[in-house]
Amino acid sequence: MTLIKETDYGTPESKSEKLVTLTIDGKSVTVPEGTSIMRAAMEIGTEIPKLCAADSIKSFGSCRLCVIEVEGRNGTPASCTTPVAPGISVKTQTPRLAAIRRGVMELYISDHPLDCLTCAANGDCELQDMAGAVGLRDVRYGYDGANHVFARNNGEVNFDWKPKDESNPYFSYDPSKCIVCNRCVRACEEVQGTFALTISGRGFDSRVSPGMDEAFMESECVSCGACVQACPTATLIEKSVIAIGQPEHSSVTTCAYCGVGCTFKAEMRGEEVVRMVPWKDGKANHGHSCIKGRFAYGYAQHGDRILNPMIRESIDQPWRVVSWDEAIGFAADRLKAAQEKYGKNSVGVITSSRCTNEESFLVQKLARQGFRNNNTDTCARVCHSPTGYGLAQAFGTSAGTQDFDSVDDADVILVMGANPTDAHPVFGSRMKKRLREGAKLIVIDPRRIDLVRSPHIEADYHLPLRPGANVAMVTALAHVIVTENLVNLDFVKSRCDWDEYQEWAEFVSLPKNSPEAMQETLGVPAADVRAAARLYATGGNAAIYYGLGVTEHAQGSTTVMGIANLAMATGNLGRRGVGVNPLRGQNNVQGSCDMGSFPHELPGYRHISNDAARQAFEKDWGVALDPEPGLRIPNMFDAAIEGAFKGLYVQGEDILQSDPDTRHVSRALANMDIVIVQDLFLVETANYAHVFLPGATFLEKDGTFTNAERRIQRVTKVMSPKNGYADWEVTQLLANKLGLNWNYTDASQIMDEIARLTPSFAGVSFKRLEEVGSLQWPVNADSPDGMPIMHINGFARGKGKFVVTEYVPTDEKVGPRFPLLLTTGRILSQYNVGAQTRRTENSQWHPEDMLEIHPHDAEDRGVRDGDWVRVASRAGETTLRAKITDRVAPGVVYTTFHHPTTQANVVTTDNSDWATNCPEYKVTAVQVSTTNGPTDWQHQYRELTAQSRRIASTIDAAE
């Protein structure tokens, strides 16, 4: 293996279709019009020296190293800013150019330290490379004069020198090594879109300045790493490179955080990760990253990680470290005993949206083939199950319609119940780039998310609706589109069921569905709703992006169908720049759903009662499958409390922290005879477990993840699993102890089985993925290379289905006792329940969950900023600290759920989506009052946690 080095073409690609032919150093080259001479040269392998250019950012022309000569033209223009022209003849190397370049380099080096041998960037420094390329042999100017290099000049304090900024835990900024190429500043603007960096001063005084000359951690910097990646020197460099040294090999793998699915080069020294660098050829992220994927991988080495299997007879005992054989034997015996005593349907599994497709496939196979029931569910139940249901009803497939690149062609972007800059940051940056290019923006969200107004971005309409009013909103938007004759009738007539359309149009046209009639329910001025609807319907290519703020409601599925209605009515489907795009929460939510994790369907979304589909599996697996749907997660809990459900195998999912109504979940878990938790850490659910099977991180196993755009990408093992086994191997150990005789020796064999049994994956294999990088399902005979955009010539189900979306107010109503509505969300630096990110330096950005409350509501209750407050709902109560902000509307409070001590889900109720039982996390009626500290429940819970994490014998914790 070697270190993967992508080619840097110096300037971005031109999208022109017109071609231009020119000659460079005697070689003819044909490139699209608008291409720079620098890029054209690189296309034929001619590397023109450069320092301020990189193909991820626009050309700048400041370093003057890339000068060239054009026959018949005067002077020596910069090749990065000079576009190609037909028939010109360019010379990249002449004695004159060599002299200029050497002169430029000499000036650069005269104000740069000569500590190359001990510099962390040694071997990976463009300044060093360019000095070599131009043949620099001497620096005539010396270091005696003004400089930025030395703290003292001849014993005198040098005020031009600045100390290193080590404030960011992941990278350092050494101003003495800066050549002011502006690449970091431009990457922050153009790639990330945060505008945290600028250049202060002029000429010799020019300095890279985070914010107003602040430390990085004090500035607006979001630590995405784009500036570090762009830096050609050691000025901005990962602290891990300083600590370890340069990597010697790398492999491409896929991030295990959010549903964007960024691909990274894991740059390694032996089995140690030196750094994760976003891969330029990654189709989901195109070389960009966020703080989580780029830096927050240290949890794999955290001391809390459990590396040995453990068991205990009952949950009040301390854990006992045992061999794999004993742990697996104990688990299998208890599962068998439960089934013998309570029947075959008394046990089940939960697959993980954090694990690979192969692992989810095996876990559901264990339930179906081994337990002979369909009691399999996945954490997607609690996030995007309404997407699966709603989009399957409307279009015929349980997935988003577009690839991420499609946003580049969107003229209007409607974001509903999603917060991409925090929860899907790399796609959020893509979206912001398009918005800066002029696309219009509509945000429907109770809270003023960053997209509503941030540097160089402003929403045309922000509709801050009351939590729970989503269906009223989509119906009111539809009312405007239909009654103002903005429907694309050609599209509807040719692509959708006309009768259903007419019924729907009649329904949405009813006066009760007008924005004016709905104004009270929505809490948004009717004029804004009307204007937003007009913009969506008439503004050109309009794309809808939505998230858990849409799905996690009592009417989540109805809203998803309402969104599909809007897209169909306006003809915004089946081409680039449009579509219905669910932003998936976890890395493999799409994949775990694709893999048949739900209790009612087999891999590839085929209902379990479908004889043909079931028979294919029966033939392959050699057993008869139960044709009836199994229990969903909340149904499992209900059955457990009744005493009918006794055993659960949970892979990589912390149901106790992430599922609503914590007390209900803990009662259910406490009632089971055997709870098997497979995870990296003793997560909250493990408090109630009898068997703990240590899991592997994404760095330690092979497999695939499927991101929010249906893109299947490889996960590559870059180090041996510290716990001894990949997660799919652990499932196989358990399956074989239950007598299933599985013989997978490599994850690729599992994918081969998936492809054999799942029509939409028919053409997928590890070999194929390695050849092409990634594939977007369906991959079959009709679309052998996958399908970036779906429903181009017709919907998967035939005619698009319009569904009447009657607004039904949630049972979770405010009243005198609970006058405020609590809604929940995420923050950039933390991920989900925080099990991984809390065990990294990311906690420096978000050490605790806070309750956002409007100043009016805070004043009414005597709450000051930073006070401890008690949040009580009908389900329970918890305490956390208050943050007073007008980002939330009066009457609405908001918190994140990243920290277990906050216990936000003690407060959430067991209300759920009518179709899928997806919990209604986003609406809880609460009261907020001041308090002195944690609740009794929080105290008791802490004791329980300490109690249940006792381990009897010493174990080898990870270093």
């Binding site: 989009l391 329904f507 979304y605 009662s609 479908n610 004889d611 044709p627 009744e642 009447v804 009518w914």
Partner: protein, 90 residues
Amino acid sequence: MSHDSVDKLVKMANQIGKFFVAQKHPEGVASMTDHLKKFWNPRMREAIIAHVDHGGAGLDPIAIEAVKRLGQRAGAAASGLRPGEGGADG
């Protein structure tokens, strides 16, 4: 099944009913029966059928009607769906 659980099923069934009662095409009751068939585990279906047999307290008319039809079909065939219908279930 305990009162608690039946109450929950009644609530869920009414929620489902409120969606299907608004649909004119195809017929709401049939669609609701189908929905219960496709997504509710037999244990839950049996419990709600038993509840309807005992009068169906708390259930909306569409839910009672849908559960009654479910009861009739449950006796007829263990897997009541037409083959090939699974693709659009979600």
